[in-house]
Amino acid sequence: MGKPELFPALSTADRAALLTRLGAVLPATSLLWSAEDTRPYECDGLSAFRRVPLAVVLPETEQQVVDVLRICRDLKVPVVPRGAGTGLSGGALPMTEGVTLGLSKMKRILAVDPLARTARVQPGVRNLAISEAVAPHGLYYAPDPSSQIACSIGGNIAENSGGVHCLKYGLTVHNVHALRMVTIDGDIVELGGLGLDAAGYDLMALAIGSEGMLGIVTEITVKLLPKPVKAQVVLAAFDSVVKAGEAVAAVIGAGIIPAGLEMMDQLATRAVEQFVHAGYPLDAAAILLCESDGTPEEVASEIARVIDIMRNCGATEVRCSRDDAERLRFWSGRKSAFPAVGRLVPDYYCMDGTIPKKNLAAVLDGIARLSAQHGMQCANVFHAGDGNLHPLIMFDANVPGQSETAERFGADILELCVAMGGTITGEHGVGMEKIDQMCVQFTTPELDTFHAVKRAFDPHRLLNPDKAIPTLARCADYGAMRVSRGALPFPELPRF
């Protein structure tokens, strides 16, 4: 899996000038340029894409970020921001002729205001570290990606990350008050504010989910929530994914917004059970986890309703966590689904389509057919309440041809999601991985608008320039390739 680069090689003299100038504004330990030092940065969580950057800078202060960006702008060197490198779409994939700007040294929690329920943090702070730091005040930061022990809040901003609780508590965009961002010209802009809205256009909404292409986020003020007094989870097993899907619709249709509503298919459940022994039923075609939180009274009445709905929808087994230890055990399986699958096979490829929930059965059916067609297994975990599907394609990159097959299988799944009224990415971002599928989801003028938005922030097109938004030339090549593989994909499906 490799994609072409846009930027020509720097001359030896320019390269030396770049390193000299960077060296003048950074401590020695913050500038890496030898191959052995830069190689650890060659990929993010999507290890199929690798490129060794020209240099890695690890600024310790916002001023150093400003200085680095100005130097790179002057010398026309592209800059790729990087948080913890857990991204799953190649968003932090370096550029061979570019500088990777890592935020890992900017990891201080600058201020916590328990009364106003905010925390001001640097971008390299780990997601979970925020909740840990504010726990003594009875508060927490709600978005909880499964990678939360490792991923950075800066990366969360760039991907608009979600977690198993975002059905009720929202995505990153719903839980941030303000951002400080440095533009490629080295200007500092403050977006959002400590109130509940900001003057002018909502630039913060644009910045969130922009995959490091509009500016470097150097400070984030997040919203904190009081911890619910009680949480309880129902585990329900079904003998078909269709019934499980119907149960999801029935819960929401009953006016319940659970704190989390997740689904796993049999392959995923079995993989997880071997890994963490969460106690999942192994004969079920699909299991649902449905969490309720709030006051003890609220939880009791909601859980009773959920159990009824699950039974009415034909659950073969319904269990309810008896205490917090059991609740966490039920969740541990879901939260470790990716690594669990990773233990079963040499490689897996995680997809991230979102679909209208009513099309779940049809999409899972389509994935099963693609799985047979490509001769590759695929386990499915699903943020069911939000319609966000994570198929995990299982393969072995050491077997010739399997990487390419996995990539094609993945592309087919994403295009299936678009055809079913959905989108190619719910929370992992387009990055390098899904850039061709952007050509399927958007028209030429829409892609042009995205380029214009980028120019409004980054007129020189130097920040993470070859990610997320494809050039029209690239789309033309991709269109030719797809059509040559035989007409439109999924001709049998209705078009939305």
Partner: protein, 362 residues
Amino acid sequence: MNGPLAPATVDPTVAPFVDRILAARAARTPLRIRGGGTKDFHAARLDGDVLDTAALSGIVDHEPSELVLVARAGTPLAEVEAALAAHGQCLAFEPPRFAHGGTLGGAIASGLSGPRRVSTGSARDYVLGVAIVDGRGQALRFGGRVMKNVAGYDVSRLIAGSWGTLALLTEVALKVLPRPEAETTLRFEMAEADAIAQLARWAGQPLPISASAHLEQTLTVRLSGAGSAVDAARAKLGGDPVPTHTADAFWNALRDQSAAFFTVPGRTVWRVSLQSTAPPLGLGPQCLEWGGALRWIAGDVDADTVHATAARHGGHATLWHGGDRGRGLQRVAPGVMAIQRRLKAALDPDGLFGPGRLFPDP
């Protein structure tokens, strides 16, 4: 499928709007996009030929179990809310009406949210996708009908709150929520500083507070949620219960600004959005909302003072109605303003839509 592989088709209800925009562009006459006109009062300037969205009407899709509603921009807000109510659902951000005849497009384009904003989020938080026509007459779609979507920049949320100055909104997809099962309103006699402190303490606990207001010496608080949770909170908070019909009238009057505070003839009103825990501002008669994060200030207050006070508390001020509108309604830092202008030029290169409505021309 949408992409470059598919033939371009323009929705027949949208086509006349595309023609109108192209004609205006050719003639270089600005357009003033108008839904129900219920927010005409909020403008630094109202310039251009009216582009009425009434013909863009109708709910396109509402699937209660998807929690998604899609409607054309000119659909009356009342129609949308009735359709949702029939399934026990609502627009959680409680869009203000101000007057009869408002449209969904106007609610989203203004980005305004009512009293419930403090607990459930703002209009833009519920936007899932939009269809727009830009200043070049191009029909474009961003976002979608699904809850989570990071494909491309979030242009939909940028459109929310752009007051018709970036593009014509033709269709909106929104996340909708079930209506709260139970609701109760409580009243407390309390000075402003005490109310601010009390609201902050309550907000730090898992209480189902869905609205709050402090006017003169009275704090009014609404609880919404599961019956059991509302009952438990009511017992904990104390206060005097307000009968349901009085409470509904109170919150609606606050939401729609038909309350006496807002209707004094000739009164200038400032909207100050700031950190909820900011101490009393002492700028004049005031109505406080959103747990302290929103303060409406009445009277002829010095503009520089209001802006500076808001900024000191991490917020911003808006000249809401009345007053000297010549310098624009809000102040934006120069760096941010430069980006805004470039975005405006990207979507509306000829400055067709609502010139000077929010900011003076450069």
